[in-house]
Every structure is written in structure tokens, then in C-alpha cells.
Symmetry: C2
Subunit: 305 residues, 2 copies
């Protein structure tokens, strides 16, 4: 089944304890579509970049089977830029610089050929834009997933509250779940958040794994303990891309299949952090992914007698 992803395609400049980069390709929709490309070839992108965005980077997306018809190129504008520095523990980071540029007035135009997409991934961007995308879909997709962050809870909570009733799956991290619900207990937080609209909630806990909530069902997926986390940028987006890419490819939105999808998403995220930016994501093999998934099986499985 076909997937539509709307979100940012950007330049990032990163610094981690392991080194720093100049401007490299980044953005939520980049990570999402790249991760999803290993599962579905009906992989449609809506985003905006400036005239400074190198065509070779678009070629990389196209070479992964990503449909870039909906990628707007504003020749007169500059691409969204984010620069950040990670602390020693890699769990926290400081934003050094943000230049919204062409993202500042992003009009998410949906090409006609994208209409009828069954799976819609609303990558992290302004909730008003996320709602606009939904309004522009001629038919409601089978599954709508939304990613957001604390920034939007701070400055656009009413917009976020307006879009939440329209989505099926919300993905946020543990701090954001606490912020959105006002509850410290993630179990209580999940119940409050699901009342705001999304029937399914994924709480990402980074190196501590992820929790999947749906009604009174809970699934916990571990994160793979890695020797080295090189650069966590994009790990959450990669997770989301692997998750929804797997769902789209199997066209099965049962809870059991969502559990599998979370494992695939976690496996993709575990690759993402091994190198800077999306470097590791652009040249994975199916064999590597399947082997990584088997590591998750081995990590998490036990039998009670």
C-alpha cells in the first residue's frame, strides 16, 4: 500500500562527542522516507527545500524509490537549517542555530497522483500544517500517524489539540507524553493522551526502548544496547519511518502487527545512530535489517514454564 510522508527536508550541522559535520542532509521527512524505503516502494514525499539544496541529495532519495513529485524547490529561497550539539551522554542536546527559511511559509501541496494514499505520516512540523494536509486529502487514509515535539506544545498547543482527534497513531517521547498529559506515570499519561484522539500511542524512550499503547493493551519494545551511539539525530524519525513503512508494506494495522512494526522501526533506528546523519540509512541491505531484527528477538524473548 502507498505511503505519503509530509515533513521537513533540511540541512543539519551536528556536533557529537565523536566529531562534527558541515551541512549534511537531514530533516524528519528525509529520515522517515529513507527508513520506509526498505519496506515500501510506494513512498511519496511532500516537503519544501530552497535553491541551495543539492540535486545529488534528491537523487539519493529517488534512488531509494522515493517519489519526489511533491518536493517543492523554491529557487529563490534557502533550505531549513538546524545546528545542534550533543552533550557527553548523547541524551540531551543544545540547539545552536535554527533558520526556518522556506519552511517558514510551507504550503503542503498534495500532488493529484498522491491522492488515495492509504498510509499518511505527518512528520514533526507545525500542527496547523499537519491539519492542513489532512484537510487536503480527498479520501481519509486508512492510517494517519503524527509525530510532534515539546516545541509545538509550548507555542501551538491549541493547534495540536485540534489535530489530535483526527489521527490514529501519535508518537512522542516520554518527556513530551508527561508534558502533554500533565502526568508523570507514563501509563496514566497514555490514558489521558488517548482520550485526546489517537487510539494508538507510541512513547519513545530512546536508549530505553518504546512503549505501544492501544486501549488497555501495552507492548514494550527494547532498544538494542549498542557499543557506541555515534549520532542520535533522526533516530525518532527513522523509527517512525520503519514503523509505518512496515505497516504499509504488510497492510495490516492489527495490534499484533504494530508490535512487529515497532521492532522493525527500532531496528532501523539502531542503524541510524551508528553514523552521522542519514549516512547509515542510505546503504542498508535487507539481510542486515533481518539480522538486526533477529537480535531484537534474541534480546527480548523468554519463555515462562
Amino acid at each position: 500500500m502507498s505511503l505519503l510522508t509530509v515533513g521537513s527536508v533540511a540541512f543539519d550541522a551536528l556536533e557529537t562527542p565523536f566529531g562534527k559535520t558541515d551541512k549534511i542532509i537531514g530533516g524528519a521527512a528525509t529520515y522517515i522516507t529513507l527508513a520506509a524505503s526498505y519496506f515500501t516502494k510506494a513512498n511519496n514525499l511532500v516537503a519544501v527545500v530552497g535553491g541551495d539544496f543539492p540535486s545529488e541529495m534528491i537523487d539519493i532519495l529517488v534512488s531509494h524509490g522515493i517519489n519526489t513529485e511533491g518536493l517543492q524547490i523554491k529557487e529563490e529561497g534557502k533550505t531549513f537549517f538546524w545546528s545542534g550539539k550533543y552533550h557527553e551522554d548523547m541524551n540531551t542536546r543544545d540547539t545552536i542555530d535554527v533558520q526556518l527559511n522556506v519552511m517558514g511559509n510551507f504550503d503542503p501541496i498534495i500532488p493529484d497522483s498522491y491522492q488515495g494514499c492509504e498510509y499518511l505520516m505527518l512528520g514533526n512540523t507545525a500542527p496547523a500544517i499537519q491539519k492542513q494536509v489532512l484537510d487536503r486529502m480527498n479520501t481519509r487514509p486508512k492510517l494517519v500517524m503524527l509525530d510532534t515535539m515539546n516545541f509545538w506544545m509550548d507555542i501551538a498547543m491549541p493547534d495540536l489539540e485540534a489535530v489530535l482527534p483526527l489521527v490514529d497513531v501519535l508518537t512522542i517521547n516520554d518527556e513530551e507524553a508527561r508534558m502533554l498529559s500533565g502526568e508523570y506515570s507514563l501509563r496514566k499519561a497514555a490514558n489521558i493522551i488517548m482520550k485526546k484522539g489517537p487510539k494508538t500511542l507510541i512513547i519513545k524512550k530512546g536508549e530505553h526502548g518504546a512503549l505501544l499503547f492501544q486501549g488497555d493493551r501495552i507492548f514494550f519494545a527494547p532498544a538494542l544496547p549498542l557499543e557506541e551511539v555515534f549520532d542520535p539525530t533522526g533516530a525518532g524519525d527513522t523509527f517512525a519511518g520503519g514503523f509505518i513503512g512496515y505497516l504499509a508494506s504488510t497492510d495490516d494495522i492489527s495490534f499484533e502487527n504494530m508490535k512487529r512494526a515497532i521492532i522493525y522501526g527500532s531496528a532501523m533506528a539502531s542503524f541510524c545512530v551508528e553514523k552521522f546523519g542519514s549516512e547509515r540509512l542510505v546503504n542498508l541491505t535487507e539481510k542486515e535489517i533481518n539480522q538486526r531484527v533477529l537480535e531484537f528477538v534474541s534480546l527480548a524473548s523468554f519463555e515462562i514454564r
Copy 2:
């Protein structure tokens, strides 16, 4: 098979966001032996208390089948006392008061009837005392497990380094693993720590579950997401007691059985935090424990097609 636990039996005074207690029964060995009592009836305790320790509390231990022959009562002394206050997030706490009292010169005398125990649990106490216990065992137990904490790494690291080569299973939390190894990555930390002696390492991550390392094998056990954590005191000791109690009762120290033991330990810890102190641990039923273990199965199981 029989279990011997050496550690503190104490008074605690606790304050959490949910309330506060006067002196209640606490101490590592109390939690360990109570948790283990649901798995093994050959459950031997070595500890020391003062004349102020109420006999009714000893009766509670005895009623759980715990052998208190090795519980020394120093009539002229006072029982070890710890008082602490938890922060809002329940993950951090301040120590308000510590009075070592009779623990200050604890001589861990092993009654003859305890000799030959196959499973030995060295609860958190001075590493020199833990080593003394090992020296006093006429035959080396089949499995020796040791719990310790950052406090001993600060003030008695040489003693700790001396006892580590003598134990099979070490259990510490994530911060302590980083402190003991000098590595942030828990996977790297585990490899360094296992080189210090213990072939098996359990890293407790509180609400984020636990990791079991043995050679190049890793198992991740989730923690049950709870509506409310009422009082975390003793959760780590309860986890250890459930773990080694299960191993002793099944007399199987294979990696597969240790995975099960971690689930049972986690289940016991999830009960512990539901009430103040050891209150919830003293009146559990086998049915409740088995139901809780099934919640872990449901939480963690998935199938890759």
C-alpha cells in the same frame, strides 16, 4: 535448593510524594528473603539487629518460612536506621539520616546448619563483609550473587575489586555500572565489569527494566508500566530476591532460566513499589504472582513472521 542471604535488616523512615512513614521494617536482606520466600522454603538469613527490634517483625519473617537462626540480636545495641525522602519523579532521593548502629561492627556468623547452602545472596553491605561471608563457607555455593552500590565504590573500591572475582552474578544499577567501568555505553560497561570477575551481570534500570549480560549474550527485561509508583524503597532488593529465589527453587542456572528468573524478579519488584516498605510483599499469593508474570509475557512478546 537452599538459599542463604546475608545483608541488613533495618528500620526505615520514608517520605514520598504520597505520604510518609514512621520507622518501618526495611533493609536489603528483609526484602530479599521476603521476595525469595515465595519461591523457596529453604531460606536462611544472616543479619544483625538491636534490642529495639520488635519481635513481631521477626515473627513476620518466620511466618514466611525464613530461617532466622542467623539473625543476631544485640540486646544492648540499636538497629540500623535509614531515613530518606524521594523527589517528585521517584527516581531520585535524598538521604535524611543514617545510623549504622549494630551494622557498624557486623560480624556475619554463619550457623553450622546453613553450611552447604547452594545459593548465596550477598545483599548490599560493605564488600569486606561480603568477602568474609564467602571465606566462611565450608563449601563454595553453586551460585554466588552480589549486590552493591555507588557508596561502596566511593569508599571501598579495593575491597569491592577483591570480592568481584569470587562471585558469579553481580547486580548494580545503570549509574553504578558506568561508575564501576568508566564507560557510558552499558554494553561496553558490561564487558569491562565481567572481566573483573562475575560471569553474569544484571544492570537494573528501575522503571526502564533490566539488562542481563553473560559472555556475548544479552537479555532485556522490561519493567511493567505502573499507574502509580508509591514507594520504590527495596525494589532492587526485591528484584534480586525474586531472581535468586526462583533460581534456587528451580536449581537451574542456565541463561534461559536466568531470563525467566529476571521476569519473576521484576514481577516481585512491581508489587514492592505499590505500597510503603515491605507491606505489599508480606501478603502476596501465588496466583497474584503468576498473573503478574503473565502481564510481563503480554507486555514483551511479539512474533516476527
